[in-house]
């Protein structure tokens, strides 16, 4: 089993340190969820794991390749795709152009590109219907499908998803959870930041709890979900 190894990562913005000595593993295949309150540093963590910010210390390795300190294109080329918070689709571009942007780093010939697009359309048939539509004119759920599809076009070994379900209708969340479960079964490693802890426990087999930039708990979903301290903090139970 290969995966993403995060070891002693300290990172932030300028003089502000957000992440303190963060260590955990993301199994591939498998689904790991990160939970934590607002401002805990979840987005900062994913930004460090895709090279958008350089850690001040620590190691980030995927399948033996050391990535900390490298530029984002090295992360993509090694096999990490990042589906950012708020989806960040390219406005004014069609769904298909957005998906093609996802494959930018791979320089695929047209026929191979077509096959990859068809694979995404098979996973999310809704996108096939809307391939020629401006991506940001779709519903939130469809946009999230497009953002995930765009990430898949990079052919990642590990995909990072920030705020999977935020602002989406429950039916849309079900479709996404279903698709991610299938992708993990097919070999993909997933690290999902999820505000809705019920969704996180349901989706992931491993949970990482982030609190003010530190990892305070890691473990299998069932045991983290049963922890009274976690239930008190994140499910509002007394």
């Amino acid at each position: 089993m290969t995966g993403l190894t995060i070891n002693g990562v300290t990172a932030g913005y300028g003089d502000v340190t957000v992440l303190q000595d963060v260590s955990f593993n993301v199994a591939a295949p498998g689904i790991t969820a990160v939970i934590g309150s607002n401002g805990a540093g979840k987005t900062t963590l994913l930004r460090a794991l895709s090279g958008l910010i350089r850690p001040n210390a620590g190691r980030i390795a995927l399948g033996g390749a050391e990535l900390a300190g490298q530029a984002p294109d090295a992360f993509v080329a090694t096999g990490i795709a990042h589906v950012p918070e708020g989806r960040r689709l390219f406005a004014g571009m069609t769904v298909e152009d957005n998906l093609m942007m996802g494959a930018f780093s791979r320089r695929l010939p047209a026929s191979a590109l077509r096959e990859e697009l068809d694979a995404v359309y098979a996973l999310f048939p809704r996108l096939a219907e809307r391939r020629k539509q401006d991506a940001v004119s779709m519903s939130g759920g469809e946009q999230q499908m497009c953002a995930i599809g765009r990430g898949l076009m990079a052919k990642p070994k590990v995909m990072l998803i920030d705020e999977l379900s935020l602002g989406l209708a429950p039916v849309a969340v079900d479709v996404l959870v279903d698709a991610l479960t299938r992708l993990a079964a097919d070999g993909l490693g997933l690290l999902v930041v999820e505000q809705d802890v019920a969704v996180a426990f349901d989706l992931a087999s491993q949970i990482v709890v982030l609190d003010r930039g530190r990892v305070t708990r890691t473990g299998p979903s069932a045991s983290v979900a049963a922890d009274p301290a976690v239930r008190a903090a994140y499910l509002g139970e007394a």
């Binding site: 958008l52 984002p72 950012p84 960040r88 390219f90 571009m93 942007m101 780093s105 990079a154």
Partner: protein, 290 residues
């Protein structure tokens, strides 16, 4: 004003506008993607004109043909200027890059004045033919130059929307950080875009040389045209540059009749101010680059 005069003035304006589209497109592209106001653009156009003049005087090659070499050559120069000079301050506020390109413009313009003097030069007519449509007469050279200007600009538009690298340029313009997540090397895209912008300037210079006398003194006027067309059409939009260029050409052409050709710069500037006050998002309604 008679109908035939009206038609003639309109036709003149449209032909001018086709050239202006080419003058503005590269400037708009660079502003939109790099957020750099490229003060060097006007002098790069003049450099293209001189190259066309040189090709004509020395080798007898007309500007339509020399543009095929001159455009890429000046584009390559632009790529290098971005890669090795502007890139060093690309994250600085827009004022810094503006001052930098302004200084580069002074160097290039001064160099051209020393090399060619400020005297006007002229490329001999390519066809010299006049097309007549009833009462309207149009020099064929001007028609060809205007059509070439629009065709080249549309070709760049098609490239941006239909190629891997072109889409990456558009993506960087929309959202730099997310394009990095796609594996796009932004500094590479910046250099390519600046090169493309200056290649367009070089081609525009060749086409302008078909119609207008050449002098380093033209550069600020060309920059003004690019500015106004860009604001009219919406920043960073290639189609906007075409629309803005044509509108400016037509307005200038009518302005020359109603208030006199010596006020063409004033007419353009008034149009610019009116646009900024009334419709800052451009005629096409697309928001500019913030």
């Amino acid at each position: 004003m008679s109908a035939s005069l009206l038609a003639q003035v309109l036709a003149n304006g449209l032909l001018l506008g086709g050239l202006y589209a080419a003058v503005a497109a590269g400037f708009s592209l660079v502003w939109g993607v790099l957020n750099v106001v490229n003060m060097l653009h006007g002098s790069a156009i003049v450099l293209g004109s001189y190259a066309a003049w040189f090709a004509s005087a020395r080798f007898g090659v007309n500007p339509f043909l020399s543009a095929i070499v001159v455009g890429p050559a000046i584009g390559l120069l632009g790529w290098a200027v971005q890669r090795f000079v502007i890139q060093r301050v690309i994250t600085a506020p827009v004022l810094i890059t503006l001052v930098l390109t302004f200084a580069l413009d002074l160097i290039l313009n001064n160099g051209m004045i020393n090399a060619f003097s400020a005297d006007y030069r002229k490329v001999p007519p390519v066809t010299g033919a006049i097309l007549t449509f009833g009462p309207i007469g149009l020099p064929l050279d001007r028609v060809l130059a205007a059509v070439a200007g629009v065709v080249v600009t549309l070709a760049v538009h098609a490239y941006l929307n239909n190629s891997r690298l072109g889409r990456a340029i558009v993506a960087v313009r929309m959202d730099r950080e997310t394009s990095m997540l796609m594996g796009v090397k932004v500094e590479h895209i910046y250099a390519v875009t600046f090169g493309l912008g200056l290649a367009l300037a070089g081609i525009a210079g060749c086409l302008m040389a078909v119609v207008f006398p050449i002098s380093p003194l033209n550069s600020s006027g060309y920059l003004g045209i690019a500015f106004v067309a860009c604001v009219l059409g919406g920043l960073g939009s290639i189609v906007g540059a075409i629309v803005g260029g044509i509108v400016l050409g037509v307005v200038e052409s009518f302005g020359a009749i109603f208030v006199g050709p010596e006020y063409s710069v004033t007419v353009a500037a008034v149009l610019l101010i009116a646009m900024l006050l009334l419709r800052p998002q451009g005629l096409l309604g697309r928001a500019g680059y913030e």
